[in-house]
Symmetry: C2
């Protein structure tokens, strides 16, 4: 299948590579940096997003934020200019649910289908093709695109209509941030009270406190392994989506707000390129105490 | 073995029953209510905690809070008065880590050993003998008591010295409360944004947001199943231990404080006997919106 892939960075690069490895013809926009590995695999080079859209049946986006998606889709020489009836646009970036609904409506007006399909699992998930994919769109389009998504990930769920994939991703990032804070507060408490945080983590792993975050990020806090992983500045972007949309939706997200403030505090020290488990540094700084010390 | 069991309520009752079922002679204080099921199993009746301690080698406590443990151990006709060299006291209640160290020291002065061994897993875990047990004390005493603990639970960890078992239990309750709030904020966000919370929960179960709480309490929030389970007023007691000890330890637990306030808000509506997943009612009330509606 002829697939356009716009955004071939640390996530999109390996993802596009998997598509080529599985026999698809992948087209990219060479006005942005194209990784050498993709060139070596024989990626097709175009001069704009518009030309990519013209050459392909399915166009995947994997860019940082809402304005980037808007620019790639509707900017000068953007995807919209190269679309014709029956093509499919799949946005795998993590962006605003509200704007996603507007983008989908505009793409539909071009006679094309739209899926929002943000992912969780980070760089490792992209490399090992084990991403969790949360999809918003109609059932028929979902089923058409599913074989392609299966090349990229493992847990693939059609959550609902357009926007619901992005909503689900925001919910994911809320839970992950707040569980990191949960584990951080608990391990700080235990360490400061004189217990061995490694033993505490071990004791808690079997029960109701057990989570993927306690397992992976709890260990990072104890062994002080804060190389990313998933960078704090990306999580700040995601919690900003949560808090900005919560304001529009008239709901109060107390602990999401606090978690964002703690990320901000770590960023204030110049450490926003550390893994998000480094949120614990802000808790520790206030207590003038380090877990496991 | 002759075992004293002080506190035969909804947790202690079934636990004492398991000990009798496994061939032990269990002694209780009949000045408090003794469940009929224990009488039928042939429990031995004494007239005070002191007499229970005198008759047995190992004395287990399972009472609500720190002052209750203090009263049973050191009050009039308490355990301390019936102790003699070489006996072992095991406190399985969930109480303050700081006071636990004092209680242990006083019991040691009577020539006896002390373990703090609080549990997680609730009423169901007590009935099915699948409790998680977090132990503080010395290695030798732990190994002597381990065969008895194995009758009551499954994940049994010696966390460290006296007090560390209680510290670990507090850490457990911090994580559980904050993960409930994480799931509550995320599902409220998703529902209010128009997504189906059931689908969102399903999509998140495979990834980094997955936890025992998302699985069990997330489902409770969606299906509105707030019959306990673990009651809010018990979790309030545990977070009070967390916050009071955090103050003594000079550490700030931002989200633990907020979670307690949300429990307080539910309690203000007279609902503190609901399951702790009902914390979400406070989030919903502020938003005038119900998950899954």
């Amino acid at each position: 299948m002829k697939i356009g892939f716009l955004g071939t960075g640390i996530m999109g690069g390996p993802m596009a590579g998997h598509l080529i490895d599985n026999g698809h013809e992948v087209y990219v926009d060479q006005s942005h940096r194209v990784p050498d590995t993709l060139r070596e695999k024989g990626v097709y080079l175009c001069n704009s997003a518009k030309e990519v859209a013209r050459q392909t049946e399915l166009i995947i986006l994997m860019v940082p934020d809402t304005p980037d998606v808007e620019l790639v889709l509707f900017g000068e020489d953007g995807v919209a200019g190269g679309l014709s009836d029956g093509k499919i646009v799949v946005d795998m970036s993590s962006i605003s649910p509200v704007e996603t609904k507007e983008f989908a409506a505009k793409i539909n007006k071009c006679g094309c289908k739209y899926l929002d399909a943000p992912v969780s699992g980070g760089q490792v998930g992209a490399k090992t093709a084990t991403l969790t994919i949360m999809v918003g769109g109609d059932q028929d389009t979902f089923e058409m695109v599913l074989p392609i998504l299966k090349i990229l990930g493992q847990n693939i769920t059609l959550v609902g209509g357009n926007g619901d994939g992005q909503t689900c991703k925001v919910a994911n990032q809320i839970i992950v941030a707040l569980t990191i804070e949960a584990v951080g507060e608990a391990l700080l408490f235990a360490s400061k009270a004189g217990a061995n945080p490694e033993k505490v983590r071990e004791a808690l792993m079997g029960g109701f406190a057990s989570s993927k975050i306690l397992e992976v990020h709890g260990e990072r806090m104890i062994t002080r392994t804060f190389a990313p992983g998933f960078r704090i500045n990306l999580h700040q972007k995601d919690l900003n989506l949560a808090l900005a949309n919560a304001r529009k939706l008239h709901i109060a997200l107390h602990n999401t707000a606090t978690a964002q403030e703690l990320f901000n505090a770590v960023a204030a020290q110049g450490d926003d390129d550390l893994d998000h488990s480094a949120m614990v540094l802000a808790l520790e700084k206030l207590a003038e105490f380090q877990i496991g010390k």
